[in-house]
């Protein structure tokens, strides 16, 4: 949190009494009074200590020393913006350390381990998953080990350059064209010199009139040729750039998207979808811009600066110095301007996106707005935000115009100096008018690339940051992937076994604890329990969306990790709680898992799912187009399509996740029928809150707080009067209440 994290661990402490093997050393970042500061919690074989961390090499003051034998109930209390680790000793509650959110996960793990140690069990505290770069202390983005600041820039650049390899021919061609274009740009001003001195205002008439006329024609033709060539080059260059840029960004985009498709769900749990989407959209766009224009602009501007400097020095070294005089000011000013503008632009874009968000939200929620008659409020709100946007837009322009006018003025000052000093030289000295005119034209061309170079650094570093964000995703290895030699299982019987399975989305917070059970082929198992008991997590593990932290899951006796993922997914079908329909026709959606299905198969599946009857009422039958997320269908209709999808998928193991939760009782009957047909001869796992839905289940698995509370048939469990009995009672109470209210 505060300061640099680099103080030495006291895990080899002196003055801690008898030196005993230490189990863990954890650094906190708050003091007992809630102020920022660091302490160490040290746990050994028989004792624990808390001592101050002064950041120095000396061990800090010992604040707490407790014998482990007298302690119990270690808990990591979640507080707002942090937490506190507490233990009990003789009924007394003792707060050991306090910490902010930065350390909460660490102390959560420590508390879990301490609990095991106090009970005499073994526990491992893994090495701290460092969330800061060990070299510079910058915090790392979630789920990455790459520090954007410490990653060698050249490495990123080299990797970026690899995208140019397959298109190296046009890329080289483009660079040559860019350089040629720039070099050509240097010619016309040079021609002005003979035009002035030799043709228009010759000094002490050396040449006869005819010759001057001929020279005029020649020079104009030369100028025309140069400009023609430049125009052609510029057109070709722009066209080639566009082609190359779109080609490269297509490659990166597709590579990124392919990788996103194969990444495990665990990756998405840790991130906001919006930021993932912006990586695909914005970051690849930025890369395109950088790859295509960055190298070209850098090369051409460098060439311009060097070329013009040489030309100026050759033409008139003394005068050239007056040109270089304002150069540092231009560079300095440009980079400050850029920073100022950027913060204004940021604000402008932020307000812009906020306005968009408001627009999106309020229009999506228009039904609610109308129902509560709140239109004026949203109009006011929108109007205020729109005004904010207008103000900050004006602000951007104002800063832009003022500062850039300033730069132009400085540049103009340089030009004026040249006019004055050069003018005097023309009047008194050896300089010709032609030299002065050519000189002035070069001066005009000189400051522009300087301005560009001062912004380049900023631009490049932002583009490299974008590149690193993209590469970071590409470098993320899916948690769930095939083992080197997976077992092919084209056909499964459907025997499922959970063997001592423990799992947590965050390793220190197990959601499932030591689950073991077995399901026979064709058996229907109902999963019952309060929300948060671990039902959906059980399903997630069975589908191998995540891998179990401990223990094993076996299908037909083969560990699930060994089974080829493709085969596994092929044999598992889900009818999810929220049906997700893609935009497309009804038939396409039914055949989602089996793209080559015949119409006959599709109709058959729809009949089994009781969907046929409503589909035929649609004007376009099976070819009715569905909007995004199945717009235009009721919840019950969507669910029946999901069932039809599962029928066609024909899995050995079927999962019903609250498949009837969204529909009314009448519709449920139809769906129930469909499900009964579907579950025949498949191993089925069904989650349901309405316990009546599970009356067909062979056995029920009752989960409570991540553990199996009971397992058995409906009647057995009722007779046992345990957790299931209690759930049924509650359920009946609620039903009774709702009947009375009706």
């Amino acid at each position: 949190m505060s300061g640099n994290a680099g103080s030495t661990s006291p895990c080899t402490p002196e003055g801690l009494g008898p030196s005993e093997p230490l189990r863990v050393c954890a650094q906190s970042d708050l003091l007992p009074d809630g102020r920022f500061g660091r302490e160490w919690l040290i746990i050994g074989e028989t004792k624990l200590w808390v001592m101050a961390d002064d950041g120095g090499a000396e061990p800090g003051k010992l604040r707490i020393e407790l014998p482990l034998a007298e302690l119990s109930e270690p808990t990591a209390h979640a507080l707002v913006n942090g937490g506190a680790l507490e233990v009990s000793r003789n009924g007394q509650r003792i707060e050991l350390v306090r910490y902010t959110n930065a350390r909460a996960a660490r102390f959560g793990t420590v508390a879990g381990a301490l609990e095991k140690w106090l009970q005499g069990e073994e526990a491992e505290v893994p090495e701290e998953d460092e969330k800061r770069c060990p070299r510079c202390g910058l915090p790392l983005a979630e789920g990455t080990k790459v520090c954007p600041a410490c990653l060698p820039r050249t490495q990123t650049l080299r990797r970026l350059a690899r995208y140019l390899v397959p298109v190296w021919r046009p890329a080289v061609g483009l660079s040559v064209m860019a350089l040629a274009h720039t070099a050509l740009g240097l010619i016309p001003p040079y021609l002005q010199k003979p035009l002035m001195d030799g043709v228009l205002a010759p000094q002490e008439g050396v040449r006869p009139f005819d010759e001057r006329l001929r020279l005029l024609g020649l020079l104009v033709i030369a100028l025309l040729a140069a400009h023609l060539l430049m125009a052609a080059l510029s057109a070709a260059r722009n066209w080639l750039s566009a082609w190359l840029g779109n080609r490269i960004s297509h490659d990166i985009r597709v590579e990124l998207y392919r990788h996103l498709q194969f990444l495990s769900l665990g990756f998405y749990d840790k991130r906001q979808m919006g930021s993932v989407i912006s990586r695909v959209n914005q970051d690849t766009g930025r890369l395109q811009e950088f790859l295509v224009w960055g190298s070209q602009d850098l090369a051409t501007n460098l060439l311009l600066i060097v070329g013009i400097t040489i030309v100026l020095l050759v033409m008139n070294a003394k005068l050239a110095l007056f040109v270089f005089l304002p150069a540092p000011i231009v560079v300095l000013l440009s980079s400050t301007v850029w920073r100022r503008i950027r913060s204004h632009m940021h604000r402008f874009f932020h307000r812009w996106s906020r306005l968009n968000a408001v627009l999106n939200e309020t229009l999506s929620g228009l039904r609610v707005t109308k129902a509560f008659g709140q239109e004026p409020r949203h109009i006011d709100d929108f109007s205020a935000r729109s005004m904010d946007l207008a103000i900050s837009g004006t602000g951007v322009e104002r800063v832009w115009s003022i500062l850039f006018s300033g730069i132009s003025l400085v540049m103009m000052a340089g030009t004026l100096l040249v006019w004055y000093v050069g003018g005097r030289e023309v009047l008194f000295g050896p300089m010709t008018l032609g030299t002065l005119v050519a000189f002035l034209t070069y001066v005009g061309m000189f400051y522009e690339p300087l301005r560009f170079m001062s912004m380049l650094l900023n631009w490049a570093s932002r583009s490299l940051a974008a590149a690193e964000r993209v590469f970071e995703v590409l470098d993320t290895v899916p948690d769930v992937k095939d083992v080197p030699e997976p077992v092919a299982m084209p056909r499964m019987e459907g025997r499922v076994e959970f063997r001592n399975v423990t799992f947590g989305y965050e390793p220190h917070r197990p959601v499932l604890k030591n689950i073991s059970f077995e399901a026979q082929p064709g058996e229907m198992i109902g999963l019952v329990g309060q929300s948060g008991a671990g039902k959906t997590t059980t399903i997630n593990l069975l589908c191998r969306f995540y891998d179990a932290t401990e223990g094993e899951i076996l299908i037909d006796g083969v560990p699930i990790r060994q089974i080829r993922l493709e085969d596994l997914r092929r044999q598992i079908g889900i009818v999810p709680q929220d049906t997700f329909l893609f935009s497309g026709t009804i038939a396409e959606n039914i055949a989602y898992a089996k793209p080559g299905a015949t119409n006959e198969e599709i109709i058959h599946a729809a009949r089994i799912a009781n969907a046929h009857e409503f589909i035929i009422k649609k004007p376009d039958g099976y070819e009715t187009l569905l909007g995004e997320r199945g717009q235009g269908l009721s919840a019950g209709e969507q669910q029946r399509l999901a069932i039809a999808r599962a029928v066609l998928h024909d899995p050995a193991i079927l999962i019903l996740d609250e498949a009837t939760s969204q529909v009314d009782v009448e519709t449920e009957k139809g769906i129930q029928e469909a499900i009964e047909r579907l579950v025949q001869s498949r191993t089925t796992f069904a989650i349901a809150h309405r316990l009546a839905t599970l009356k067909n289940a062979h056995r029920l698995l009752v989960l409570k707080e991540g553990e199996i509370a009971e397992m058995g048939t409906h009647d057995e469990l009722l007779a046992a009067e345990g957790e299931f009995h209690r759930l049924v009672q509650t359920y009946q109470d609620i039903s009774a209440v709702s009947v009375v209210q009706r």
């Binding site: 505060s2 007394q92 910058l138």
Partner: protein, 183 residues
């Protein structure tokens, strides 16, 4: 049901005893009836015959009304009752609750912004807070600054910690300028 709530005459003559079932509107704690004590490291509460051995206090409107609407909950986070205003408590009783609140709410308030530096895609904030000096990093500043109420900002740093700026107008001009550049 509907008839009951409409007719004023239909008001039940005798209110059902409160203990039998928690009234839906919750219970307001009377400062005169409640006694807090800190013992064995826990905050304990007594009210009439009732005694709770491990309670804690939390704010219902932590941003706008830190001193009012204080809920007292038991160790299972089930609400016992609500104080509508902390200021009605006896001083030492109030100290106990405020200590508990200070314990729970760890988010520091920024008093002064000393500098903001850009390092690649993170910004490094050096600030003075009511909990001492702090340096923290923010990623994508624009997304991580929330304005729950006008002039009140909440910043979230790269490690998920929150920093409050209760009133931007109350900041000194230098801090304001730093802030204006970013937000």
């Amino acid at each position: 049901m509907i008839d009951d709530s409409l007719g004023p005459s239909a008001e039940p003559a005798e209110a059902a005893p409160e203990e039998s079932r928690p009234a839906p509107e919750g219970r307001t704690l009377d400062p005169a009836e409640v006694l807090f004590r800190r013992e064995t490291g826990r905050l304990q509460m007594r009210e009439g015959d009732g005694e709770w051995r491990d309670v804690s206090a939390l704010r219902l409107f932590p941003l706008s009304e830190p001193e009012r609407w204080i809920s007292v909950v038991d160790e299972k986070q089930v609400e016992i009752g609500v104080f509508s205003d902390l200021r009605a408590l006896e001083p030492e009783q109030r100290d106990l609750i405020e200590e508990e609140l200070r314990r729970r709410y760890l988010a520091p308030a920024i008093l002064e912004i000393i500098s903001i530096r850009h390092r690649y895609d993170v910004t490094e904030w050096t600030v003075e807070t009511d909990r001492g000096p702090a340096v923290f990093m923010m990623r994508s500043v624009q997304e991580k600054v929330k304005e729950p109420r006008p002039r009140h900002l909440i910043l979230e740093d790269a490690e998920g910690n929150r920093y409050d700026i209760p009133d931007i107008e109350a900041l000194d001009p230098v801090s304001r300028r730093w802030l204006d550049q970013e937000v």
